[in-house]
């Protein structure tokens, strides 16, 4: 499997001088094309920071992160922005939408940055994505007029607009009720099935059970790794129990 992202010996510190706090301690990780990886761990273990470093949103202090073989550190601010806009998608715990824009405009925003002339075509694409994720008809709504679950779907539509190589999700179900979370995970699974790589940061074993590989983090390092193979509904309970067993054994 070709590797989209390779992180090697990543060190990340916050703060400077004597107040510096090391959040990632020589972490090495690889994500293959079309692979679904979940990252688990207690609060403060560095899992979200790892995601931010791998996606180029945060600069690393030591080590290297390669995207399709090219070090992110060699990319300028503009190239990194282009990479995030064109090749990556993001879904966060909070919807991260702009309050000034309605639902449709929020979905269109990053893709219109490059393709203003194709607005009609992109609008059609956005509408079909909305239909697919079950929020058709909400195009003109303000983001304060729709539910949290619907907002997360808006986020997914936005992430899918650019046909990304990989989608990063940081606790995307964290603020949702269980029914909405379940629906959200169905969506992620479907997206993965279509060939998009996914890296998901989560606390939830049910969510992690959808992944092919689970990384367990503790104190800024990867403490363990669990290979689960492709998700099948009938194996869901067994996968969850393997994950919880591993967590128990690791004490996380």
């Amino acid at each position: 499997m070709n590797k989209i992202i390779v992180g090697d010996q990543i060190v990340k510190r916050y703060g400077i001088g004597s107040e510096a706090r090391q959040v990632l301690d020589r972490v090495s990780v690889e994500i293959g094309q079309g692979e679904f990886v979940a990252v688990m761990g207690p609060s403060g273990s560095g899992k979200s920071t790892l995601m931010f470093c791998l996606s180029g949103m945060d600069a690393i202090d030591e080590g290297v992160v390669l995207y399709n073989g090219k070090p992110l550190s060699q990319m300028g601010e503009v190239e990194l922005a282009d990479l995030r806009r064109r090749r990556m998608g993001f879904v966060f715990q909070q919807p991260t939408l702009l309050r000034n824009l309605n639902v449709l405009d929020n979905i269109l925003l990053p893709s219109l940055r490059d393709n203003r002339k194709r607005v009609a075509e992109l609008t059609d694409k956005a509408r079909s994505l909305m239909k697919r994720v079950g929020i058709a008809g909400l195009e003109s709504r303000e983001i304060t007029q729709v539910s949290g679950g619907q907002l997360q779907r808006v986020g997914i539509c936005r992430a899918l607009m650019g046909d990304p190589d990989i989608i990063f999700g940081d606790e995307p179900t964290g603020a949702l009720n269980s029914a909405s979370a379940q629906e959200m995970m169905e969506l992620f699974t479907a997206i993965h099935t279509e060939g998009t790589a996914i890296m998901l940061v989560t606390h939830d074993a049910q969510v992690a059970a959808r992944a092919e590989r689970v990384l367990f983090m503790r104190d800024g390092a990867i403490a363990s790794e669990l290979l689960l193979a492709r998700y099948r509904q009938e194996e869901a309970a067994a996968r969850v129990s393997r994950i919880t067993d591993r967590m128990t054994s690791l004490g996380v």
């Binding site: 931010f52 949103m57 806009r85 939408l97 449709l104 405009d105 925003l109 940055r113």
Partner: protein
């Protein structure tokens, strides 16, 4: 603890803190300065009027005077403490020569007086009563100030010669607005000058009790005593003395009000942004049981520190600057004698600014009460913020690039937020455009037509002399033979007595000759084309209370001559009170004569002026540019300087306020910026959005500011111009500078401020804000 919080906050927001401190300091400076000046002005006027023993009422009177009857009235009146009838020898300005020049161009009625015996003293610069010796003359201080006279100059009236031995303060007529000026000579010299001019009387009274002034005025009128001139009172003298510096203080107060408003707007915006920033912390403080007053105090402490530092700075600057602004008051009226009080009141002014800011901050901090703890803790941002109309849809936008669209859309959807910046930019545009347009208008060659100056190339002025008519003829003869001169005309100015509406007569100078050769612009009616017509300047018509079509009667030895007013024109020359007619007149002396000429296209006006100057050394030869420069060149230059100053101030305000605003906006929008950057927007994209916002607001500000400048500003400027004697006024706008250069300059200031302000936008740590 407060000190630590303040120090840390200031260290984190140096630029914002500095800008706000500067605005507060400017506000405190202006308020303190205005307060200081008011006390000094009032003190100096009191000192002057006490030392001079200014009359409580002065009745001006021209004509015969029954001194015995007046003395009897004063004797019998229970109100009168002292009475005197002062003689004032009014002499035409053209006949008074000081140094190299005459007072012909003086706006004032100039006359000679002797020192009074018991009150209405004319004082020297030490506040002492002047007793001039024979051969000495004391000149009003204003004439020293404007360079008309200097110590040791020779003053001649006919064959009488005096030496300027000093300058005088006149508690009645000090002000440039008082229409007469008294020159003080010895009793002996006064007696010699008396036959040379017309006698006017100042019938003066000091009352036992000033509060009975109104009753006394009624008593005087009822007695039917001499009163064919205006009656002036003690309060009016006070006002006249106060008005010039008072206007400056008024302007200071107005500007200080503007700056206080800008300072408060900036503080409001900064504070609200800070509260929004600290939304979650405020929620947490409320949740753990901190009292509202304690939370407010945390914020108030920082603004109290800024306001206190700004006020102290402003007051110190006011103390340093007051000397320069007090010069004029000291010169005209002497020391105020209440320095300590002035300082105290100045400090009080600065303190008022401080208290106003604290009160305002305290008011803004009431927002804290409305922050729900649970919501603040949970979301970290207010959920009830109203977002304005979002009719602009990105998905329907076919016109603008995405970043430009986002910039414009943000301004339109958060109108209240941008109102602060818009207001300041409207004010800045107004401050920039109005003085510039005024300067451009009065600098125009065509404007001189509105100001009583015809469209000639060359003028030769002949001052009073016995053979003035022959001299004018000699010049005319030479011009007739000069191939470089395409046409010319000779205009003679003579003094006439005109009958006023009140039945009295007054002196009026009329320029006689062909008034259509080099016509001025008439705001009403037209030129006096026949011998029974006369045209008046706006101020003259106003004084005589006549308009076009009204009759005007000239009194002469051979009987009254009835004329009809044919037109009214604006004039700034000769004090604005002039008249033009074309009738022939052989009587009376010529006060002055002017020869106007138009040159052929190829001639050089300056060279021609030099040639005529050589040929006719007794004539003052000037080309039109030189004449305009001499007559109101100083006004044009002063307005030009004020305009440049205003442009600099406007640009500085635009720059500072935009910088402050953008810094705060950036702090407020960190989350939205982080979201956009996370999804692939570059720093350049973000900067472009902010520049679009700034320039869009500037465009609105410039449009509204220009509109206001061309309507309200034109009326304001018209009022200023009217005081020079121009009756009609429209801005002559230079489209290149008013609509291109200066707006572009302001655009550069705003753009630069935005660039500086957004320079830190790339430093936002995405993970911190996205995780919120």
């Amino acid at each position: 603890m407060y000190r630590r919080i303040i120090r840390r906050d200031i260290a984190r927001n140096k630029l914002i803190t500095l800008t706000m401190t500067l605005f507060v300091a400017a506000a405190a400076l202006l308020v303190a300065l205005a307060a200081l000046l008011i006390v000094h002005l009032s003190g100096s006027i009191d000192t002057l009027m006490t030392q001079a023993r200014t009359p409580h009422m002065t009745q001006m009177h021209a004509g015969d005077l029954d001194a015995a009857r007046l003395a009897a009235f004063a004797e019998q009146s229970e109100h009168v403490e002292q009475y005197q009838a002062v003689e004032f020898v009014n002499i035409d300005g053209a006949r008074i020569r000081i140094g190299e020049q005459t007072l012909a161009g003086s706006v004032q009625d100039n006359g000679f007086v002797k020192q009074n015996e018991s009150f209405d003293y004319l004082l020297d610069l030490d506040g002492q009563v002047i007793q001039p010796r024979d051969g000495e003359v004391y000149i009003p201080i204003g004439y020293w100030r404007d360079g008309t006279a200097k110590l040791g100059d020779t003053v001649t009236v006919e064959d009488k010669t005096f030496t300027v031995s000093g300058f005088l303060r006149d508690s009645q007529m000090n002000s440039p607005l008082a229409s007469s000026k008294r020159l003080l000579v010895s009793d002996q010299a006064f007696a010699e000058l008396r036959p040379l001019g017309s006698i006017e009387y100042l019938i003066e009274f000091r009352l036992r009790d000033l509060s009975t002034l109104t009753a006394f005025q009624t008593e005087y009128t009822d007695a039917g005593l001499e009163a064919n001139g205006p009656a002036l009172t003690y309060p009016l003298f006070r006002m006249l003395n106060a008005i010039s510096d008072g206007m400056m203080i008024g302007v200071l107060l107005l500007v200080s009000l503007l700056v206080v408003v800008i300072a408060l707007l900036c503080i409001r915006f900064t504070l609200l942004a800070k509260l929004e920033d600290d939304y979650r912390e405020i929620g947490a403080m409320k949740a753990i049981g901190m009292r509202l007053a304690d939370i407010k105090r945390l914020y108030l402490a920082k603004y109290a520190a800024i306001a206190a530092a700004g006020s102290v700075l402003g007051f110190a600057a006011a103390c340093a600057l007051r000397g320069a602004l007090l010069d004029n008051i000291r010169l005209y009226m002497g020391e105020s004698g209440n320095d300590a009080l002035a300082l105290a009141i100045g400090a009080l002014g600065a303190l008022l600014v401080l208290l106003a800011i604290l009160g305002y901050v305290s008011g803004v901090l009431r927002h804290i009460r409305r922050i729900p703890a649970a919501e603040a803790l949970r979301y970290g941002v207010s959920q009830s913020d109203k977002v304005g109309a979002r009719r602009l849809r990105l998905s329907r936008n076919r016109l603008l690039p995405v970043n430009l669209f986002l910039g414009v859309q943000d301004v339109l959807s958060r109108k209240r937020l941008y109102a602060t910046m818009l207001t300041v930019l409207i004010l800045a545009s107004f401050i920039m455009i109005v003085p510039h347009n005024l300067h451009h208008t009065i600098s125009q060659r065509s404007f001189s037509g509105y100001m009583g100056i015809g469209a000639y190339d060359l003028r030769l002025d002949l001052q009073q002399s016995p053979d003035i008519a022959e001299r004018a003829t000699a010049i005319a003869d030479k011009m007739a033979a000069d191939p470089d001169i395409s046409r010319y005309t000779v205009l003679m100015t003579k003094s006439f007595q005109v009958r006023t509406a009140e039945g009295t007569t007054q002196t009026m100078r009329i320029e006689l000759g062909d008034q259509d050769a080099f016509p001025v612009q008439y705001s009403k009616g037209g030129s006096p084309q026949t011998a029974d017509k006369i045209a008046l300047s706006a101020l003259q018509a106003e004084e005589l209370k006549v308009t076009v079509g009204d009759p005007l009667v000239l009194a002469s030895d051979s009987g009254d001559v009835r004329l009809e007013v044919s037109g009214i024109y604006s004039d700034i020359t000769h004090g604005g009170k002039t008249a033009k007619a074309s009738f022939a007149d052989d009587s009376g002396d010529i006060v002055w004569a002017v020869v106007y000429a138009e040159l052929t296209a190829s001639s050089d006006a300056a060279a021609k002026a030099a040639a005529y100057s050589d040929s006719f050394p007794y004539a003052k030869v000037s080309d039109i540019e030189a004449f305009i420069d001499q007559t109101f060149g100083s006004t044009i230059r002063a307005v030009g300087q004020a305009s440049q100053g205003a442009i600099a101030v406007a640009l500085l305000i635009a720059l500072l306020v935009t910088l402050l605003f953008i810094k705060l906006l950036l702090a407020k929008d960190r989350y939205a910026i982080a979201v956009m950057q996370a999804f692939g927007f570059t720093n350049r994209d973000i900067k472009l959005q902010y520049i679009t916002r700034s320039l869009f607001v500037l465009l609105l500000g410039l449009s509204v500011g220009t509109l206001l400048a061309n309507t309200l500003g034109e009326r304001l400027a018209g009022a200023v111009i009217a005081s020079f004697g121009a009756s009609s006024f429209e801005f002559a706008i230079d489209p290149l500078s008013a609509y291109v250069i200066y707006p572009v300059l302001m655009g550069c200031a705003v753009g630069l401020a935005t660039l500086i302000g957004t320079s830190g936008s790339g430093n936002i740590i995405l993970s911190e804000h996205i995780k919120e």
